[in-house]
Symmetry: C2
Subunit: 143 residues, 2 copies
Amino acid sequence: MLNRDYDGQNCSVARALELVGERWTLLIVRDAFLGRRRFEEFQESLGIARNVLADRLAKLVENGIFERVRYQERPERYEYRLTPKGRDLRLALAALMQWGDTYVSPTPPRRLRRKSDGKPVRVALVDPDGTPVEPADIENVAV
Amino acid sequence: MLNRDYDGQNCSVARALELVGERWTLLIVRDAFLGRRRFEEFQESLGIARNVLADRLAKLVENGIFERVRYQERPERYEYRLTPKGRDLRLALAALMQWGDTYVSPTPPRRLRRKSDGKPVRVALVDPDGTPVEPADIENVAV
DNA sequence: AGGGTTCAGTTGCTTCACGCAACTTGCTAT
DNA sequence: ATAGCAAGTTGCGTGAAGCAACTGAACCCT
């Protein structure tokens, strides 16, 4: 997606995609979850054009998903770190990864697991008590 | 994102975004969850250019996310319905919606709830027993 | 002092995707 | 006969993405 708005779309999905829906943006965020922080790291890892990377990082900072932090002076060098807002994209990325694991990747190259005991972690729909909810038992209602 | 591949990205997120990462694609899927099925419905609801809509629908069918179903003969007319693969994008859309609700939309216009009792439904990271997992307690490991 | 390297971009140019509006096809209704 | 509807298709202009070379500020080596 481009950075145009999805005008008239009064939906949080559209609002979210205005911020992270452009080409490369979610992959940059995923790279950040994998520990990458620097321009060169993102560029080499993704093979993205440098001008486009510069553009995306600027927008991500502008939108509060990354912060630009100086990590050395003389010469001034900056790196990019996820903010709490950016870190909260983990769920959306995990959901996309899970779908990709199920339907696209024959053998998923990475997995989420709990550090403490190594058990696999997945994304699920739950009620306020944490009880899983059947997909068929869900409705999407206007407020 | 465009329909090019994210070559060299051996990640399910990249694989998933190759199928649903183009501009408009996820909004079309979201529209389908809201009950829309026909070309004209999508077009009017989204305000998307007709050639682009035609292109996206064709790719979504090609990728098994929608199926093209004839709903009348003379003249032949087709509509688009989510397949199980497409319906499984619900989680990713819900996660994006939740993030948008939290950080972008002041007052979310729509909510997910359980049909049977009307309780709100949210997306969460859980272990195999359905127990919630702390975000800080998660690691992303290569297989 | 001069030449090479690193990092974070910027610039210029080309190619490709998107937006827009008009047109087409096959059929029905008046 | 003409108008209308639904699902596209076509042609053309604009804007975003890809590519590679360049910049600037500092460091390192001989």
